[in-house]
Symmetry: C2
Subunit: 131 residues, 2 copies
């Protein structure tokens, strides 16, 4: 609990949407955030840093997304194999916008119920293991 942003983030409960394909997540909050960062920063390495994850982790998520959809969402061909740029394909932009739209709509649909649900949630002591 060093800074207000951290504290606020730790205390913020929110509903999030995931699109499951069988048992795996085709796209969810983490992958969507990574796509947003690729748009903003223009490379997987910079997007990884912005999302506090290793390059390897980010690359694996991009690779999984590129395989989960009918065509790649991220074009990594620009600039060579290492350290080159990355950008969203037309499909990538379309998928990201559609996902964000669905998540906003889902969250809005349950806003009242979620407000009531929040009273069940404990304020986390520090941080506990996620699932």
């Amino acid at each position: 609990m060093k800074s207000t942003p951290t504290l606020r983030s730790a205390l913020t409960a929110r509903p999030r949407l995931r699109v499951l394909m069988g048992e795996s997540t085709a796209i969810g909050p983490g992958k969507a955030a990574l796509l947003e960062s690729i748009v903003r920063h223009g490379s997987i390495s910079a997007a990884a840093r912005a999302n506090g994850m290793s390059y390897r982790r980010a690359w694996n998520l991009v690779d999984a997304m590129n395989k989960s959809f009918v065509a790649p969402l991220v074009d990594t061909s620009a600039g060579g194999a290492h350290g080159g740029g990355a950008r969203l394909t037309d499909l990538g932009r379309e998928v990201l916008v559609a996902y964000q739209h669905m998540e906003t709509k889902a969250a809005r649909a349950v806003a009242r119920e979620f407000k009531a649900f929040e009273r069940f949630l404990a304020v986390p002591e520090a941080s506990h293991a996620g699932d």
Copy 2:
């Protein structure tokens, strides 16, 4: 691809709701399914088997849930430390019903958008790593 149910499950895309508390999941599809199984089977070990997970994994999820909410969702006191029964507390039942209601409502709210989104998804070859 041995049986129709497995195949169907692998091909089924669906939107799911998670309630995040900071970065950790207070309740999501996996934890909700575990609570449902505890209701059905009356013990953590039987619920773990029904959900294809180890007893340890199920116990950890229950423990995490019991700490994520203002009071425990699962009462494990009945029958001693090992192999005893487990049942949902009043709060546990209330949280499960509220979660299921929110998820149904969220899924319904994005049903049309999700139908359109499905065309972006690849049919998985066999099964690929989840996230």
